[in-house]
C-alpha cells in the first residue's frame, strides 16, 4: 500500500434536510488530510470552505453527525471508507 494514495484517505459525506439544500448536494467524496482523524476535524475542514459551510456548521447552529449510521460527536474517529452524515436535529414522529 502506498501511504500517500488519496484513495486510501477518502470518505463519503452525506447531507440531509436543511443542510442538503444549503450545500446544494446530498453527498460527496472528501479526501481527508492526514491531520484529520475525527468528526470535529472534518467539520472544521468543511467550515474552512467559507459560506454556506461556515454558517451552517458554525457555532450556535444545531447540527448532528452520524458515522457509519451511528450517532457521533466531535471526538468520534473517522477512518477511510467511512460514511459520515451531517443533518439538523431530527423532527420525525
Amino acid at each position: 500500500m502506498k501511504p500517500n494514495d488519496s484513495r486510501l484517505r477518502t470518505i463519503q459525506v452525506l447531507y440531509f434536510a436543511r443542510l442538503r439544500e444549503a450545500f446544494g448536494r446530498d453527498r460527496e467524496d472528501v479526501t481527508l488530510p492526514d491531520a484529520i482523524s475525527d468528526v470535529g476535524g472534518l467539520a472544521e475542514l468543511l467550515r474552512g470552505r467559507g459560506e454556506p459551510w461556515s454558517r451552517e456548521l458554525g457555532m450556535g447552529k444545531a447540527f448532528r453527525v452520524a458515522v457509519n449510521q451511528d450517532m457521533a460527536d466531535d471526538a468520534t474517529a473517522i477512518n477511510p471508507g467511512d460514511e459520515v452524515a451531517f443533518f439538523p436535529p431530527v423532527t420525525g414522529g
Partner: protein, 149 residues
C-alpha cells in the same frame, strides 16, 4: 420487532391484528398514531414532506425497539413511519406494543415515541402560506425523551 418505513398509508386495525395474531399470552395492546395537523407555530400547513436517512432510520428504530424490550416486559412492538408527501389529517406514524398487562404496554409505547422523535433520522418540511420551511426540533421533545434516562 417489525419496523417499516413506507410511503403508503397504514391500517391501524390490520396492523394490530397482525401483531397479536395467535399469541394468547397478550393481555393488553397499547398503540399511538401520529397525525399531520393543519397548524404549526402559528402558520397554516397545507402539506408536508418527510425526508429520512435510508439505512440509518431502520437501524435506529430497531435499536429503540430493542431498548424498549430490555426495559419493559413486553412481547412485541411495531413501528411504522411514513415518508414522502403528507397532507393534514394524514397518518404519519404508528407504534403498537403488546404485553401481558397494560402498564408495561403504555409505558413502552410512550418511550418508543419519545425516543423516535429525538433519535430516528426523519425531517419534516412544511408548506405554509408563507412558503416552505424545515420544522425545527423542539426542546419539549428533548425533555420528554430525557425523562427516561
Amino acid at each position: 420487532m417489525p419496523i417499516r418505513v413506507q410511503v403508503d398509508d397504514f391500517d391501524v386495525g390490520a396492523e394490530i391484528a397482525a401483531l397479536r395474531k395467535g399469541d394468547p399470552r397478550i393481555g393488553g395492546i397499547a398503540s399511538f398514531v401520529g397525525v399531520v395537523r393543519d397548524l404549526n407555530e402559528g402558520a397554516t400547513v397545507s402539506e408536508m414532506t418527510l425526508e429520512h436517512y435510508p439505512g440509518m432510520t431502520e437501524s435506529a428504530l430497531e435499536k429503540i425497539v430493542a431498548e424498549a424490550k430490555s426495559r419493559w416486559d413486553i412481547y412485541d412492538a411495531l413501528v411504522v413511519h411514513r415518508i414522502g408527501r403528507l397532507m393534514p389529517t394524514d397518518q404519519i406514524v404508528l407504534v403498537v406494543v403488546t404485553s401481558a398487562h397494560r402498564g408495561e404496554a403504555f409505558q413502552a409505547c410512550e418511550f418508543l415515541m419519545d425516543y423516535l422523535k429525538t433519535r430516528a433520522p426523519f425531517w419534516k418540511k412544511e408548506q405554509t402560506q408563507q412558503g416552505a420551511r424545515w420544522v425545527d426540533a423542539r426542546a419539549v421533545d428533548d425533555a420528554a425523551a430525557e425523562r427516561w434516562n
